[in-house]
């Protein structure tokens, strides 16, 4: 009788141990990203944009591009998915300071979205990072917030699709 009781106990201990191990396994492998989701969001998309001046048939223009040789005015269209956490790395390959900012509507002097929310002046040969999570479907724009630069082509569109 005592031996049977012991056997039952050992089986129960084995079951309880298995549940404990399963919980630890879930915590270690599955749950961690979810627990951290609200606080530390790792970028899901990385975009490197080069900014600077180019000489065109219409004279000197300012623009953006995905490489130093592909700078165009206006800059390329950027397309992201809803929920993307985008890390913009902006590199100034031009001769004068430039910035990169996400805006609601481009404006050469008063850009339409937290005009202090941009990389700030990035000196020639320097770079800066801006990280934004796009959760709303729609259209935004980006631009250089140095007054007048967007008029010379230093802007582009951002499209967020579902």
């Amino acid at each position: 009788m005592a031996a049977t009781m012991k056997q039952t106990l050992i089986i129960l201990i084995a079951i309880a141990l298995a549940i404990n191990i399963a919980i630890v396994a879930v915590l270690l492998f599955d749950l961690q990203p979810r627990l951290g989701a609200a606080v530390n969001l790792e970028p899901t998309v990385e975009v490197t944009l080069y900014g600077g001046e180019i000489i065109t048939d219409e004279g000197i223009k300012y623009g953006y591009g995905f490489s130093p040789d592909e700078i165009m005015a206006p800059g390329p269209n950027l397309e992201f998915k809803q929920g993307d956490v985008v890390r913009f790395l902006f590199k100034n390959v031009g001769e004068v300071p430039h910035t990169f900012a996400v805006v609601l509507k481009v404006d050469p002097v008063n850009p339409d979205l937290l005009d202090n929310y941009d990389t700030g002046n990035v000196l020639p040969d320097d770079e800066a990072v801006l990280v934004v999570q796009f959760n709303q479907v729609g259209t935004l724009q980006y631009q250089c917030t140095v007054p007048g630069h967007s008029s010379l082509g230093m802007w582009g569109n951002i499209t967020i699709t579902p």
């Binding site: 141990l17 919980i23 979810r34 609200a38 805006v103 202090n116 999570q133 959760n135």
Partner: protein, 216 residues
């Protein structure tokens, strides 16, 4: 040979840890606070631009007095025919959701006029009563002070002609709601007006910001 008593002890300990584990998992798999933001979000937010204006009772209002709370700030005017009524109704609904969850003391709703010439404190108080915004701060002031706030928050404001002469003039302005976190940083922005966002969307993100501890 292990005694039966020891086996009972081991079993008891394992059951307790399994119970705690299940409780912890349950809480995190079905969190009471949402984890996903619905508004656009700056991952490296910057300090909110501070300002001082006058509220709908003519009392001075300073934004940084509410540091430590979550602040929802938007821009409206009371002669607005389209988006401002939608935004105001959204804020009214949001206030209800916050009260239901007992969060109304943790959150401040701020609406800055984009038409200070016509939006006197009295006029804003009428708007407050019309939309049930008793707990919101409806702000106005002299044109210089108010336009500085628009500029700091990147809100474009432009007088336009309207078809209905009884409205006088219209004001084209940026439709946006910013959420300022408890560290006084502008972290989330919702573009446009309902239906582009809903009171539930704002409430979702506000709950995340309220639940997050303040950085020392």
């Amino acid at each position: 040979m292990v005694s039966e008593k020891k086996l009972y002890t081991i079993l008891a300990v394992l059951i307790v840890t399994a119970g705690l584990g299940v409780f912890f998992l349950y809480n995190n798999l079905f969190p009471s606070v949402p984890t996903q933001f619905r508004g656009n979000r700056y991952i490296n937010p910057l300090t909110a631009p501070d300002f001082e204006l006058i509220d709908q009772y003519g009392r001075p209002f300073k934004l940084s007095d509410f540091k430590g709370k979550v602040i929802a700030i938007t821009f409206i005017y009371t002669h607005c025919p389209d988006i401002c009524p939608a935004i105001s109704a959204g804020f009214h609904q949001l206030m209800g959701l916050l009260e239901d969850k007992g969060l109304d003391d943790d959150v401040v709703l701020v609406m800055v006029s984009v038409d200070p010439e016509r939006d006197t404190p009295e006029r804003l108080r009428e708007w407050m009563e019309l939309y049930g915004l008793e707990k919101a701060y409806l702000l106005t002031g002299d044109i210089d002070s108010v336009s500085k706030v628009w500029k700091a928050y990147g809100v474009l404001v432009e007088k336009i002609e309207v078809d209905d002469p009884s409205l006088g003039y219209g004001v084209a302005h940026t439709g946006i709601v910013y959420l300022i976190n408890k560290n006084f940083e502008v972290e989330v922005f919702f573009l446009g007006a309902p239906p582009q966002w809903s009171a539930e969307d704002l409430f979702n993100d506000i709950q995340i910001l309220v639940a997050r501890p303040t950085e020392s």
